[in-house]
Amino acid sequence: MFKLLVRLVGVLTGICVVSAFLLTFVREGTKGQIEYQQLKALMAPAVKVVLPPSDNDPIADRVKVTIGTGKKARKITVFPAKKGGKLFALAYTASASGHGGPVEVMVGITVDGKILGVKVVKHSETPGIGTKVTNSKEFMSQFVGKTWNSKIALSNAGGDIQAISGATESSLAVTNAVANAMKIFQVVKQKLESKLG
């Protein structure tokens, strides 16, 4: 009886262990490629909007940089755009809280710190109200041309971004997210350049 039990447990355990080893191996082998595919599906449409055409594939050339120190440290994925081997623009995401949760925007910025384009990549704003902001190309175009040190705020807070009426909260969220992105621009750029070498 005991011998049988040992045999049953032994064989099943053996098969499971071999299976686990095999799967670990396959998982490690496909990890990078899977991450690339997921980012491509999720980020490629936004990257295309916020960055002008480049010689390289910004998604394949993505770089992870760490912002902040200690407990506040977080990793940001930066998508660099190059022409003739030289970095001329970069894109990354930043977020701010909106009406229904965090609003994440992708911002494309030149190396001099000028905004090329803004696109919302993730949000949970009210359909029909908040989405008037997140889908609006006119609203996003207000950010184009702003630089990393200019004031990015709604008109009622001393800035010059016109909120979409009826959707002030969502307008504020997008504006804050863009402002958050610009706040870290210098650090991101510096780290990106040092990583690109």
């Binding site: 049988l4 064989v11 099943l12 299976s19 496909t30 899977i34 599906a41």
Partner: protein, 199 residues
């Protein structure tokens, strides 16, 4: 090794025992993954890989696996290959992975790999199990692709995403829905029985 038997084990899955039409097995993906030819072919090839590999491994282990825990062992072997397929399709065939979705992990509970393991691989040598798995898998792929061919052609007017019907063609969108899949499958089963009964 008997070449004649080897050929027989391989070809039986292609016609005489073609899984979804003769045994009416593995119907869930047959109905769900046949809206386009690319989905049908992709699903069929995923299953062929899983079935062939699991058949070979189970046949190799058939003298070691105790009878009392054979089902658990079979499921672990099948699940391992399903996860490999899932990871590889996700890494290299992302659009296919997205359109097949939950049906790739669901191959684990598909009755074909488990059924072949129980009925064939656990009783026969490796080489015959390989032929059996490959034949059954390709038969399944053929069934799914042919069903998908009619559903895509008549339901969408396209083949492999290309428009092939004349410009005024009105697609029978009914065929793209679940009831259309049942009707199509029923008709195919009927035709197969008609042809098969002429002995």
């Amino acid at each position: 090794m008997d070449t004649k038997r080897l050929v027989k084990e391989f070809t039986k899955g292609l016609w005489k025992e073609i899984p979804p039409f003769r045994f009416v097995l593995g119907l869930c993906p047959t109905l769900a993954c046949t809206t386009t030819v690319s989905d049908g072919l992709g699903m069929g090839l995923c299953l062929t890989f899983v079935l062939t590999c699991s058949n070979v491994f189970i046949s190799m282990l058939r003298k070691i696996i105790p009878d009392e825990v054979r089902l658990a062992c079979f499921i672990v072997v099948v699940a391992t290959f399903v996860i490999i397929v899932e990871l590889v399709t996700q890494a290299y065939f992302y659009p296919l992975y997205m359109s097949l979705g939950i049906f790739i992990p669901l191959i684990v509970v598909n009755c074909i790999p488990l059924g072949r393991a129980e009925a064939f691989a656990s009783k026969n040598s490796v080489i015959y199990s390989l032929a059996d798995g490959l034949g059954m898998g390709l038969g399944y792929t053929m069934s799914l692709t042919s069903l998908a061919f009619f559903r895509e052609l008549l339901g969408k007017g396209t083949i492999w995403g290309h428009h092939v019907m004349w410009s005024g063609f009105e697609p029978l969108s009914f065929l793209q829905k679940a009831p259309g899949a049942f009707v199509c499958l029923g008709l195919m089963l009927g035709i197969m029985n008609l042809v098969g009964s002429e002995k």
